[in-house]
Assembly symmetry: C2
Homo-oligomer: 147 residues x 2
């Protein structure tokens, strides 16, 4: 057994599947003019508006080098705006615009469509998510850390 064989490593299927998933999101996100990472930022904001850039970065594991241009793009699209925390001028606080709030309605359709596109039923979805959550815990990627 060759340990270097692609088929004998975890890394490659993870890499390939992850790329494939974001590829299948692309046509669903196109009507909203969002890329997959931009959509993730919007998900964070729809869950909690008026949030520091720092916190978005912690949730998504992204640094300012990635987020700064991404947020600028979302501003250009008219979905968010930047404010500063008056108590700490270093902090950039991101808020949804009205338009950014409105497209949430369209985005609500996406999770169901994605499961369809991925060909997963409810049971499979839950099974995969459990395994991923478990692995995320093991890699210390969980927010809650109750694992």
């Amino acid at each position: 057994m060759n340990p270097l064989s692609l088929s004998n490593q975890l890394c490659f299927p993870f890499y390939a599947i992850s790329k494939e998933i974001s590829k299948r999101y692309r046509p669903l996100l196109a009507p909203l003019n969002l890329t997959y990472p931009q959509y993730l930022v919007m998900l964070v904001l729809w869950e909690q508006d008026f949030i520091p850039l720092k916190t978005i970065g912690e949730r998504l594991q992204l640094d300012s080098g990635t987020l700064t241009p991404l947020i600028n793009k979302l501003i250009e699209l008219g979905y968010v705006k930047k404010t500063r925390n008056p108590d700490d001028e270093r902090q950039l606080v991101i808020t949804l615009t009205e338009k950014g709030g409105t497209i949430k309605e369209d985005a609500m359709e996406i999770p169901a469509k994605i499961n369809e596109v991925l060909g997963l039923d409810e049971e499979e979805f839950i099974r995969y998510r459990q395994l991923l959550d478990e692995l995320a815990c093991r890699l210390n990627l969980s927010a809650g850390d109750d694992c």
Copy 2:
């Protein structure tokens, strides 16, 4: 239950775990001066040398826009070289240099180290791989297609 919540989607854990895995590869690959995608190309070549660029792209699901500069970097590192198929001058055939063959010995250490870094024992490794293989099949990402 909010369907748009990060924690209720498959996409995000996949995205986060995939990034985390390649992050954990980075220090292991640094001594070889390889990035993670470059390492994947080397894995393909160590499995089968003298292979068309096209075929590498099919294995890794990457197009020439990604592979051309990546291969140029591997040439710069002295690990591979380009030749043309004399029977079809369109085809670029990639071959390992002596140096590219030699570093395979160092790379042999990596799979074991990665499982250690990810904190997975043999049993868990197999369990995760089965699930990923299953999902890859379902997404039509498998070469064999026997699923």
